[in-house]
């Protein structure tokens, strides 16, 4: 602004400047609004995809948490089970329960006298029924010779039929359940001898060829054992490495090189670690195949860079004034680190560790290389027992042809996701609780 009296020309120029400024401001606000919309759209898209994923998994997996049972009149025929009448537990344990079961089935299912009919009848129920009968007899030998109505597990096909996954209107040749079985099932349904109960088997057994007997306990225990090894190896080593690099190491070309390589290691595809584990741990050191101890070692290698990077970031975030205060008090460097820096960095280190563990929990590829993909029906009892882990179990079931494994796959994914969400939630809570105390 000048002191020259305003004339038309300057007035004009001022007006033009003003309109230009106004236009510029409008444009800036428009750009900001547009930018916000893009951000919002991106978030909505991400949320939408997440929702689709979760809904499809949950809707496919929920039926696996229930199972179908049939009430059968089981004839504990004395002739089959205890021909001598000795009631000797050793003999009872290995008696012919299958014969007794077949007799019961013949009575229950008219038309099961033929070979084909017998197979159909047997396929109505889970093939563990003879073992259920044996356990009942061993628990109470007085039921021998009586007939008991027992709720037994149906076969996976009948389970699918009860849940409506098998279309009853399809022609018989396209259906997993033939007309005879369908007629038996409908008769049982009318007599209210079909019920749906919570599938506790899913949480109490390991893998099985029969879908109705398959569970995830083996995989969960396998995952837990593997993660314990991973944590025991990668946490101390990772934290020590981070503390040394951050607090003690001189800053020179060598430490720079190490830093670059740690960052590179974090980007190495996980299957490479699996190959390394196969070559070194199994072939060179001869450690057991399919064992959680080897899986844990491989995953520890994979998790190390994550923990080192997170720990270094946490240590860096501790203000230097704390170190100066401690050093100025005459604390040694080790005392400075262990008394002050490390406790303050611990929440960050633990958060990084939990996220690294969550990564390891969801890892499949390296474990395939060291044989944890084997079919294992026993719940592992130790670190060297053959085992599988949750994601590998999911992979195995996704590969299985039976219809009933589809829902079990999704259910296992739900269990895995639950664990992962819980771990991440814990990490978030930890961070919230200890956020910046200085």
């Amino acid at each position: 602004m000048t002191d020259i009296p305003a004339n038309d020309a300057t007035n004009d120029a001022e007006a033009r400047t003003r309109t230009r400024e106004a236009a510029l401001i409008r444009k800036r606000y428009r750009a900001e609004r547009r930018f916000r919309m893009y951000g919002l759209a991106a978030i909505l898209a991400a949320l939408g995809m997440l929702t689709v994923l979760l809904v499809s998994i949950v809707s496919a997996g929920l039926p696996a948490f229930t199972t179908t049972q049939i009430a059968l009149d089981l004839n504990f025929d004395a002739g089959d089970i205890d021909p001598g009448g000795s009631r000797d537990p050793a003999k009872l344990a290995s008696a012919n329960y299958r014969g007794a079961l077949l007799k019961s089935l013949r009575a229950e299912f008219p038309g099961s006298e033929t070979r084909q009919g017998r197979r159909d009848a047997l396929n109505m129920i889970s093939n563990n029924v003879p073992f259920v009968m044996r356990d009942m007899v061993l628990a109470d030998p007085f039921i021998i010779g009586t007939t008991q109505r027992v709720w037994v597990k149906s076969s996976a096909d009948i389970d699918q039929l009860a849940k409506g996954s098998i279309d009853r209107t399809l022609p018989e040749s396209d259906r997993r359940v033939d007309n005879r079985q369908l007629a038996w099932f409908e008769k049982l349904e009318r007599e209210e001898r079909i019920r749906t109960v919570f599938n506790s088997t899913f949480f109490t057994t390991a893998d099985s060829r029969e879908p109705e007997q398959a569970g995830i306990l083996g995989a969960v225990i396998g995952s837990a054992l593997t993660l314990i090894i991973t944590l025991l190896l990668s946490f101390p080593v990772g934290v020590m490495a981070a503390v040394y690099l951050e607090e003690f190491a001189p800053k020179n070309r060598w430490t720079d090189l190490i830093e670059v390589n740690i960052n590179n290691l974090a980007a190495v595809p996980s299957i490479v670690f699996g190959l390394l584990g196969l070559a070194v741990f199994l072939n060179f050191f001869g450690l057991p195949r399919s064992a959680p101890v080897v899986g844990g070692m491989v995953l520890a290698l994979m998790t190390l860079p994550t923990i080192i990077i997170a720990s270094r970031a946490a240590l860096k975030a501790v203000p230097p004034s704390i170190r100066e205060a401690a050093l100025g008090m005459g604390a040694s460097r080790l005392q400075t680190v262990t008394h002050h820096v490390l406790p303050l960095a611990m929440p960050g280190i633990l958060t990084g560790t939990i996220i690294g563990m969550a990564q390891a929990l969801g890892e499949t590829a390296p474990l395939l290389m060291i044989g944890m993909v084997a079919f294992i029906v026993d719940v592992p009892g130790g670190f060297t027992d053959p085992a599988t882990v949750l994601p590998v179990q999911i992979f195995l079931w996704a590969d299985a042809p039976e219809r009933a494994f589809v829902e079990r796959t999704s259910a296992a994914i739900m269990v895995l996701l639950t664990f992962l969400i819980m771990m991440n939630l814990f990490a978030v809570l930890l961070r919230k609780k200890f956020e910046r105390r200085w």
């Binding site: 100066e324 100025g328 008090m329 005459g330 002050h340």
Partner: protein, 282 residues
């Protein structure tokens, strides 16, 4: 460091008397020298930060370092308890002696040195622990206290000497960071004197404080000099004039002038000192 006396009073009786009577300016010359620096050069990489600094710091007096930002006064201060050792690229030449022993000698343990030469920093930096633990930390790591009653007494004595006891005695378990800025700084001073150092270095201890808190710290400094030798770096010339008996003026890494505070402020010899004190640069 001849006697490791940790008692409250390590001033000889006759000295005490002299202190009371003699005018401050004259007392400086009469006092024994606590810290003697000879031709100290400090390099940060290629940067020559301090050039040939030679200075004597008298015992039981407050010595102030003044000078414009970046003049090297803090760098020199940090040489006295070897805090610069923590900086990788820092290199120190020359000789700094405390009680006639070279502190950069191989036989000197840096941890013990720092217990004898305490430090108070520019920004109050209490540990994120309780007030009690802040004070007790130093004596604990140096094995100066045994048992709870011992520690309790020591904490109380240190807080009393720092003039903080009355304000915090009912909340010793609260975190040190919950105190106000001035209280935090006095807590840091209490923490420093808890290990009974002989020298206390203060790096602009009042720069983050309001005038009232500053006044309290200055009072405290004046009381503390009976038992400790104090070196203070300050940006405030009034503060230097108020609390110190000896003043050294640094400029561009050179120790331009040193002398009795009164002389420096009333009758500076060097032109640069005069310009700085009268506010013409800095």
């Amino acid at each position: 460091m001849t006697d490791a006396a940790m008692s409250e009073d390590n001033t000889p009786k006759e000295l005490e008397a002299a202190l009371e009577k003699a005018p401050e300016t004259e007392a400086v010359k009469a006092l024994p020298i606590k810290v003697r620096a000879t031709d100290v050069n400090v390099f940060y990489g290629d940067n020559h930060a301090l050039k040939d600094v030679t200075i004597d710091i008298p015992e039981h007096r407050v010595t102030a370092f003044i000078g414009p930002s970046g003049c090297g006064k803090s760098t020199f201060l940090r040489c006295i308890n070897r805090m610069n050792d923590t900086i990788d690229i820092c290199r120190i030449e020359g000789k700094i002696e405390i009680d006639d022993r070279d502190i950069y000698d191989r036989s000197i343990d840096v941890v013990q040195l720092r217990a004898k030469v305490g430090m108070v920093f520019q920004k109050p930096n209490p540990f994120p622990k309780s007030i009690y633990d802040n004070i007790a930390y130093g004596p604990r790591i140096h094995g100066m206290v045994a048992g709870k009653t011992d520690t309790d007494e020591m904490v109380e004595a240190s807080l009393k000497r720092a003039g903080l006891w009355a304000e915090v005695k009912d909340r010793l378990a609260q975190p040190g960071t919950s105190l106000s800025g001035g209280q935090q700084q006095r807590l840091c001073i209490a923490r420093a004197i808890a290990v009974s150092p002989q020298v206390i270095l203060m790096d602009e201890p009042c720069s983050a404080l309001d005038p009232i808190a500053t006044a309290r710290i200055e009072e405290l400094i004046d009381e503390l000099r009976r038992n400790f030798t104090i070196v203070i770096v300050t940006h405030s010339m009034q503060q230097a004039a108020r609390v110190s008996q000896k003043t050294a003026f640094f400029h561009l890494g050179v120790l331009v002038e040193q002398g009795n505070t009164e002389q420096i402020f009333t009758n500076p010899v060097d032109k640069r000192t005069q310009d700085y004190i009268t506010g013409r640069f800095g």
